[in-house]
Subunit: 619 residues, 3 copies
């Protein structure tokens, strides 16, 4: 996967939904886009009802006019297949294609994403509209990229989903006996004697089977990927030179296994809406995206001019749009795109914000959008060099899914929290990190962190062993390596997959409510363990004298949760970095998210809220 041809320079723009506006607004739109330096817009993401007003009847006239207008205005088009929101007529014609919740509730249209991705009528309709679009716009000069669907992430528990799940399970496990073994169905008399007895995890009396839930998460990711691949095949056939992508989402609900998806898209693209701490969350998301892209360029497909936190949605503060966009670009994004071009007047997301806000172009927001658009072309050169990272963090959505099971020893543990802490500590101390798959080659990194990687395969464990044997510095935190790929405990002492590597044998887990103090003075919270040394030495001990943090060679085991500060000390990191710095060859990207002037390498001064991209040779 290379950066797609035809998308030279940095992409700038957003979702453009002209169907929400009268045609007379379209010309103003294109004029304002030119003012703002917009060069790419995503069109048609939610246009199915307009494009196919009745089953098999297409209306492309309006879209022809939109694409022509954009082309005349010098704006290229990231053309969407609109399958994320089937029209109301589709629901009425195919009620069996509406999604069903775990409790059997059949959903209704009236929002978006009201379909079962495994329902044959939906799959057929998806390919049909994708084909019609490709036939119509193959060769249109504005067409730069295909944007299949939008933010894949739905669930369904209906009979279509059940049938597809069974097919998937046959592929994964081969035989029913293998499935019974992998799922430990001997527990609670769950043994399946025929495939049709196997169900998605639906409402049940008490705790579900964790291996069933985990396989259903895997299935959902793969089933959505199959839907993507069907559309991609049609688009490739009709427009072989146009790259195809879709946009990944973030959040506590990780819907897809991005490693598998990254192999199928021509360009990794993400939507990112930071909440509590936008600079840190931005770095986290951007580094993940770069990881999924295998270090190659990727694209920030959506961000907003407003910030959402749980209870509130507020306009971004002055300069924040540019700073966060630059942070993404510094970390590998080939541009900055927004949802959406023009803030909606009505509909569910009328408060979501837009590059042209409700107040219109005479507004701070639009002026910042315009200024940012003016700035980007100069950055293209700096973006040619790869991002330099010395540390790696292991990322595996499957391990995260397994750690969301009910019935774990603590409800206060979380995979995302563990991964975020590892990244946050490195970020705050100025260390750029890559995210890598557990089976990746780690030899290029000075430091590898394995945060709460509950599931671990034998191969991945071998990889970590090889990395350590060749002198790598490794930090493994609690709950890593405890289970196999079916979420079954590796027996004989925790963490079964890594005991010899770490030089410890953990006998018991003791999650805790109140923090305890280690003999080093550090505070330890949430989780403690009864650790036996088996080759390692203790770096810190619990109040009862048993080891809390151990080291064997350059391999450290952390059996509890530390504060960020203590975590940084354990890693031997330098002082907190006053500004965000990312190095790419001779280029240095610097963003000052704070409210004080700061000096950066090259004797440059960054004012509060300022940023710079400068050629500064490494010291």
């Amino acid at each position: 996967m290379r950066w797609p041809k035809g998308l030279e320079g940095l992409c700038y723009g957003g979702d453009y939904n002209p169907e929400q506006w009268p045609e007379k607004v379209w010309e103003e739109d294109v004029a304002l886009m030119r003012q703002a330096g917009v060069n790419l817009v995503s069109v048609g993401v939610f246009s199915w009802a307009r494009l196919e007003p009745a089953e098999g009847v297409h209306d492309f006239g309006w879209l022809d006019r939109v694409l022509d207008l954009l082309h005349e205005g010098g704006v290229r088009v990231n053309l969407a297949t609109p399958t994320a929101s089937p029209p109301p007529w589709f629901s009425l014609a195919h009620p069996d294609a509406l999604a069903v919740a775990a409790d059997g509730t059949r959903l209704t249209h009236g929002s978006r994403d009201t379909y079962c991705v495994a329902a044959p009528p939906y799959r057929e309709a998806s390919v049909r509209i994708a084909r019609a679009l490709a036939e119509r716009y193959a060769g249109h000069p504005a067409l730069a990229m295909w944007h299949v669907h939008n933010e894949y992430g739905t669930r369904c528990h209906c009979d279509h989903a059940a049938a597809a799940f069974r097919t998937w399970l046959r592929g994964r496990h081969g035989t029913l006996e293998a499935l019974n073994d992998a799922w430990t169905t001997a527990f609670w008399s769950q043994h399946y004697s025929a495939w049709e007895q196997v169900m998605p995890p639906r409402a049940t009396q008490y705790l579900p089977n964790p291996a069933q839930v985990l396989d259903f998460r895997r299935f959902l990711s793969d089933e959505m990927l199959a839907h993507f691949r069907e559309q991609k095949a049609v688009l490739r056939e009709l427009t072989p030179d146009v790259p195809v992508t879709t946009n990944f989402v973030f959040g506590d609900w990780v819907p897809v296994n991005q490693w598998d998806w990254a192999k199928e898209v021509d360009l990794v693209a993400i939507d990112h809406y930071p909440a509590e701490n936008p600079p840190e969350e931005t770095a986290f998301a951007a580094d993940l995206a770069r990881g999924w892209a295998g270090g190659r360029p990727w694209l920030l497909m959506e961000q907003a001019v407003v910030t959402y936190t749980g209870p509130r949605m507020a306009a971004k503060r002055p300069g924040e749009i540019a700073r966060l966009s630059l942070s993404h670009i510094a970390r590998g994004s080939r541009g900055a795109m927004f949802f959406q071009w023009r803030a909606s007047r009505g509909g569910s997301e009328l408060w979501h914000g837009g590059m042209v806000p409700h107040a219109g172009p005479d507004s701070r927001i639009f002026r910042e959008i315009r200024d940012l658009g003016g700035l980007l072309p100069a950055l293209a050169e700096a973006c040619e060099a790869p991002v330099e990272a010395t540390a790696a963090i292991l990322w595996d959505p499957e391990a995260g899914w397994a750690l969301q099971a009910p019935g774990l020893p603590s409800t206060e543990i979380g995979y995302l929290e563990a991964v975020r802490q590892a990244h946050r500590v490195l970020y705050r101390h100025g260390v750029t990190a890559d995210f890598v798959h557990p089976s990746a080659d780690l030899s290029a990194y000075e430091l590898v962190i394995v945060p709460s990687l509950y599931l671990i395969s034998d191969d991945a464990a071998d990889g970590l062993r090889r990395y350590a044997e060749t002198g790598g510095t490794l930090l493994v935190s609690f709950l890593s390596g405890v289970a196999d790929e079916h979420a079954r405990i590796r027996l004989g002492g925790y963490p079964g997959a890594l005991r010899d590597l770490l030089g410890v044998r953990v006998e018991e887990f003791h999650p805790i409510g109140s923090p305890v103090t280690l003999d080093t003075g550090e505070s330890a919270s949430v989780w403690t363990e009864h650790v036996h040394l088996a080759g390692a030495r203790a770096l810190a001990r619990y109040p009862d004298g048993t080891p809390a943090i151990t080291r064997s060679g350059r391999v450290t085991y952390l059996s509890t949760r530390l504060s960020d500060e203590a975590y940084a000390r354990l890693l031997g990191l330098g002082p907190v970095a006053p500004v965000e710095l990312v190095r790419r060859g001779e280029w240095l990207f610097a963003v000052n998210h704070g409210d004080r002037e700061r000096e950066i390498p090259g004797n440059l001064l960054l004012p509060p809220g300022g940023y710079a991209v400068a050629k500064v040779p490494p010291a």
Copy 2:
């Protein structure tokens, strides 16, 4: 609508449910009613199962005896149609008339209100029982008023409701294209190409369409009103001289648009159950009722001898029953009624309390009831003069419904909270306020407050402009005038409908978590804005120097939430009033809710917890 003939003086009594008791208790009831001065009771509210024991079979014998007994005892009857609680046989005969929740759950009988108000079998059965009652009791000397149904407020999402919703939408929008435009269905591909695709807001994948939800709230109010009107037509036909009413409820869920309903009832009646601060909540409810009644008399149809707060239900404190009853009467109620006469021995509301409590008539509660009944006749004269109010607060349930949508910029804003604050501040400082519809004539008021009136029509905006032009004092608080009647944003800067009136242009919203301090020293919480002056001047500014409170002529804009004290200062109100005072011509109503003796106009001393109704000429 005038105060109904035949109900001279003040009404005193409550819901009387003799079917819960053996007949021998009935005679004691009437004797105790005479002791207590009871002159009106609501009978039959939940008697459907007794009155129509099988479909079309009626049993009126017991009710004949009850009405005769009451008549002999000098107690008049507010006779209910029992349609709020269909009997179990009705559910079995008409399962399609049971209500369905948004997730498709079909409800079952076993409580009350288990029907879909749009279901034809339920509508037919409602008219049938109303007709049978009217035929039976037309001319009965005890019959003083009809009490149709009880506390209208149910929801249903079934197919009957869907069909009726579509009919209603055709009436409101005319064409499907108009509906598509009003609902902004271009967003998320929700365009409807046939009426049968339009649904009530049922369980769906993600955010619903806010305009659809708003119209469904309007429809529910109108559909219940249609049910009311059908019964009223029958009652009017058979008993043309008997007034017809129903009882409105309070609470966060405002089920009906009281402005529309007030036109249809012969007498506005309310049920009121204050919780946290009974005196303030009572004044609020009573002033609202008077507003709905257009300043004419109305009736407190239900209150309780106990106070409910969320977690607790406790007997009212000594004297509290009388004080709150007097507060209602001072503010326009022509009496004080209770739920219910005799506390139930069993059933869902056995702890609800009664004028005759579980302890029996030898009880503080019954003695207070008796004393209050003895007091009321002397107050009738004072109740002839209208309540005098100098201030008005705009009230629009539709604006409140729109502000309950998900996806608004803050989950911490609320229409009721904004309206309650406006009223509470005036009440505490001794200013009696009317509630008026946004399109009402405001010229009679010295002060008009517009609290967070999110939806505003062009007409209402014109009315406010006229009021200001003629010298009125106006306070408008944040989020007012932002949207049109379809909850679509008025573009070009907030608040679209009122920018010129206020002399400001708001560019952005910034809801906040922690309060900030204005340059005046006041604390501002929950909500802030980026306000540009466009004719107004700043009265207070945010920490960043932008305006927070502005004034243009006598028109003030408040872009944040203030404390009650700061709100009062902004309005230039006098000191906190030590007692509740309401003036009606020469009569002064005074209630001392506090624990200290207070002097009131006329050199009268009110003891702690005391009250007075006295002829005191205005100072």
Copy 3:
């Protein structure tokens, strides 16, 4: 019911689920059991899918081998009927036997207990598998006891449940009119005119009928008991000499009326998983079990080597397994059993812990298990004498169910909390208490406590009166005696059933949010009342001077909630006991749950965490 023959000495062991493991592990299991002194294991609790792989097809070969192996190893078998978890094939064959939630959601297999206990296909299948097991293993030398089902406690609201509920109601109420009267269906027009109108409490519009909900709880207990009795009848027929039991559970949801069940089991057995304060919760559970067993021996059938609190599951601290096991034995358990022998590798409860933990036998847990097994045989003699208790606490699950109704005067009251406080205070001050049914003979006790016994029958009230008349010391706390057995208020002043006994008449309830201080200086919280003295005198008064605690002779009424300390003072208890002491004839059981050395009677010193069973004549 006597202690079953063939189970001499103390039972030691746990649930043994060999079907989760390869056969080669079985031999290690038996060897380890011998090491650990295990003499009884519960086998087959969740083996239905293995025992009956298809409808009517049985596979006993593996179980034959297991039982033979155990028998050879000297381990007896508590053989389970596996009906708590029907196999997946059963759900597919009998979808109507899957449980339905109150909202109509039909549950699916994938957990355990996915059946409606009233469904005929499930009842037939239950008896069939029980009969097949009994036919196979009647006479097997390892068979020591039958363990029917597991932790009865499911609910269902389906049509089978509805039909069975109606049959049960006919038995309880006789006529429909009696049911209408008992349920006060005159309230809200709920009168039933035909049996088929009566439903389980399903999703409804608003508050349910509390008498209906209460009867449904009674029905559920009785329906599960009918299921138990059907199996018991088969087992008795085929193995007349083998005792039959099932295991009762604890927790806020009390699913069965243990008094009724205790009459049907040959041995009371409990599963106990303490959470926040294990020693106190253990004493509470053990004393309850002894109460249900009528003072005769009972058996702790399940405990865990881990402790669950809401958010956490942690290995028990050193020595805790033995201390809590001894506390159970001291209070009447004839042994200590665990769930489960070997911690599961997968499945829903893989973190539940086991006598052989994930870490294997080389572990602190297994060493403690082995040591405890070595200790028990020496205790058998001390367990022959009955437990001596001087106080009794009334226990009635039906009163607790009634106090879980919505619509009570306070959401902060709870039956379990009231009972637990009574027991906790006695426990802390070294008083061993029995739990007794309200209608029990109380004459043997020095002190009887009646905590919040909302429902009380006339007979039970008479029993309390007789107890008081013969000089017994009685403490009755608020809400006791307020309602009759149909949860209908006893009128004329609270507490209707006990006014004369207590010498008070309560006029009103005043639940409170913030505590108040009594004139004695004690703090009173949650609940207060307006109490009139009618023969009693006030021991403490509320701030308004009305009585809060009263006494008449030796009968005390507590109308509020006190702190544990004040509660103990009111009972005149001695100082807090430093260790747990239970006397059984000449034997003294002592457990030191604290961290300081303590001296106990007999001049014995108990180290921190230590315990002793010693012949110490009463002082």
